[in-house]
């Protein structure tokens, strides 16, 4: 016979469970914010009965208002667009743009089917060659049709990442050097200030000629247009990373630097254990900015270098001048915007993973 009320024990367990639940929700909230789903937290809390009115106000602010703004923009677009007449017809409204987006998807599906049939025919050809004893003539042949919209998006993303990674590989070591040594900083600074404002379109002819001269005549690992676009992206996106890394390294706490001197740390240990972790927030800021700049530069570079990505898609549609061209260009514009947003989110997520400051 105990004097403890069983229901009280139950209630106690329940309270403990709820507390654990909300703690987990707090951790999950960090991830929701990274993924742009911040409105889920107050929604779940409201459903769990934690101060529903305040939570609903939060949901309104995080979800309702943005949705309303987007709906308002679409309505304005749909109303104003037909009033602007160009020689290619009126500017398309949201409905037409959606139709074209669906059309692009269907084209991509058809291209995938054609590609499958092509690969079967190549396989058959190779089999027949083997049967005739000409096995040394067997080879893999790349699909000869034009790329689908999704292929073009993939090419753009690969090009921007290639350019961005090369830029980071160059900029981060240089930035660390410039941050650690005042002499290196003085040496690099004038060069950075002069080359930073140069537009990608000014770099393009030089890069094209250098790539043509240096790369092998045919074949090689990368297509010339890919290299030209990627190198142009590198040249324009290396500056934010470089400057931010130098800044981040220079701002390492004096006390920590003194600790490294006391412990007689080797330069390598100093950099990897001290400098990099402290400078990481600013380095990531630089990387995020670089990726953003790189994505913008890529579209222009692709248009001119004819790399088969989104830039070329926009340029080709403009040259075609058909009645659906404007709508398709707008689809491309929206795609570019959405992908730019997603790339930024990815960098933000990476940054959250690697840094420890609570508010980034």
């Amino acid at each position: 016979m105990t004097a403890v009320d069983p229901t009280a024990i139950e209630a106690g367990h329940k309270e403990a469970r709820r507390a654990r639940w909300f703690a987990r929700l707090g951790v999950a909230d960090r991830w929701f914010q990274v993924l742009g789903l911040a409105w889920l937290t107050p929604l779940i809390k409201a459903a769990a009965g934690d101060n529903p009115r305040a939570q609903m106000r939060d949901v309104w602010r995080l979800l309702g208002v943005p949705l309303l703004a987007i709906a308002g923009f679409l309505a304005l677009w749909a109303a104003l667009a037909p009033q602007v007449q160009t020689s290619l017809g009126a500017i398309p409204g949201p409905g037409q743009v959606w139709t074209e987006a669906v059309g692009l998807h269907e084209d991509a599906v058809r291209t995938a089917e054609k590609k499958a049939r092509f690969e079967e025919q190549v396989a058959l050809r190779n089999e027949r060659l083997v049967e005739q004893g000409r096995a040394d003539e067997v080879k893999e042949i790349a699909f000869t049709g034009s790329p689908s919209y999704y292929d073009q998006i993939g090419t753009s993303i690969m090009t921007v990442f290639f350019g961005f990674l090369v830029a980071s590989a160059v900029a981060i070591p240089l930035g660390i050097m410039a941050g650690l040594s005042a002499t290196a900083n003085a040496a690099l600074n004038p060069l950075i200030q002069i080359f930073k404002p140069v537009s990608p379109l000014a770099w393009l002819p030089i890069v094209t000629m250098v790539v043509s001269a240096v790369s092998a005549a045919e074949g090689g690992l990368f297509a010339k247009s890919f290299l030209v676009s990627a190198i142009t992206v590198t040249l324009c996106s290396l500056w934010p990373t470089l400057i931010n890394t130098a800044l981040g390294v220079a701002q390492v706490d004096r006390d920590l630097v003194n600790v490294s001197k006391v412990l007689k740390m080797s330069p390598r240990a100093k950099i990897t254990k001290l400098v990099l972790p402290s400078a990481l927030p600013l380095i990531f800021t630089g990387l995020r900015l670089s990726l953003g700049v790189g994505w913008m530069v890529l579209i222009a570079a692709e248009m001119l270098a004819q790399n088969p990505g989104l830039g070329k898609f926009v340029w080709d549609e403009f040259q075609n001048g058909s009645s659906s061209s404007l709508a398709r260009i707008i689809v491309a514009v929206l795609t570019i915007g959405i992908i730019g947003f997603l790339l930024d989110r990815v960098m933000f997520a990476l940054q959250s993973l690697f840094t420890y400051a609570p508010n980034r």
């Binding site: 190549v122 058959l124 000869t144 045919e218 075609n320 001048g321």
Partner: protein
Amino acid sequence: MTRLTAILAASTFLAGPAMAEMLTLEKDELTFGFIKLTDMAPLAVAYEQGYFMDEGLFVTLEAQANWKVLLDGVIDGQLDGAHMLAGQPLAATIGYGTEAHIVTPFSMDLNGNGITVSNAVWEAMKPNIPTDAEGRPQHPISAAALKPVIEQYRAEGKPFNMGMVFPVSTHNYELRYWLAAGGIEPGYYSEQNTTGQIGAEALLSVTPPPQMPATLEAGTIYGYAVGEPWNQQAVAMGIGVPVITDYELWKNNPEKVFGLTADFIEENPNTTIAITKALIRAAIWLDENGNANREEAVEILSRPEYVGADPEVIAASMTGTFEYEKGDVREVPDFNTFFRHHATYPFYSDAVWYLTQMRRWGQIAEAKPDSWYDEVAKSVYKPEIYLEAARMLVEEGLADEADFPWDSDGYKAPTPAADIIDGIGYDGRTPNAYLDSLPIGLKGDQTVVGSEIQG
């Protein structure tokens, strides 16, 4: 499903000519260039209908930005072959522009061009054009109707600019021919001055075809000569009016050819024959059964990776009609001819005509004997390869023996005067006599020195 598709693919593959037994190809992965014009149709059709695949060729078709880039691509080797203006292989071989020995075994089409002027110029021309029984402007419209308009513009201090696609393009020569036939000086070239505007009343300059409607709209040019669909596109956009098609200028004139480097055909003779076979089959398909397949061809061409313009705009000329003024639609059944009238045979007389026009306007600086014209034509145009490909197609049962001029010596019969707008007949065997018979243009030993004609 995959198994069924594989079986179906296998049966189509085996049904075509057994590539392994017939020709051993030296190179089977090829890249061809083209410009976004309706008459690249044989290339698109040969790809989409599987004719290239039947010959064992894996072809990638790449649109090029303009004719210069395309020519450089073929010369540098990035493109194995390309849809070319008939003048390009000739000019490259004689060294006008970048020098390279380019040859052609296949003529891609006849006709297919038009000359368009802006709305303002058309309104000024209309009073000078006689009307027919139904009150419509009488065709063919001579450039004599344009002459007073040009004089008026020049009196106002506005140079009369017109666009064409390339210094050695068919459109350049056709525009000049039309202007000269109406008594307008289109300008000369000299060795020092290659703008082609020496002594010109109408100033001709280069604009890439897809950009022509935009340039006309912007007012930079008052008219242009270009291939379809860019004339009908101007009508659709409401910015210009086509005044004449090259069919009315010279009935069944040669237009585009398929060009390859001489090195390529030397190193890859079997591949060249295979390419020619596939293209002949595509041309046959395009003109089959009284143009029955043209609708499907229009659908293929309107895809963004080929020409990309609206199907309605492409369909007009491909299906035998042509819209002049908005609403004035007339029948021009042979506007685009791909196989009829021996359109695909590379006649030497076609090459000679282009060479005479190059000489007429000074691109060829000095007079040349008749034998020179014949030699150049024979080194660039290769009817022997064409006939070999045709013979193989006839043996395989894919073409009709009667469709090919087996016994031709390469020269067409002289063009009757009635087929040409100014009534001056053309005989390919006597180019110098032809040059002397044209009122405006260099004759005999004349050359352009500085800004005048001497001799």
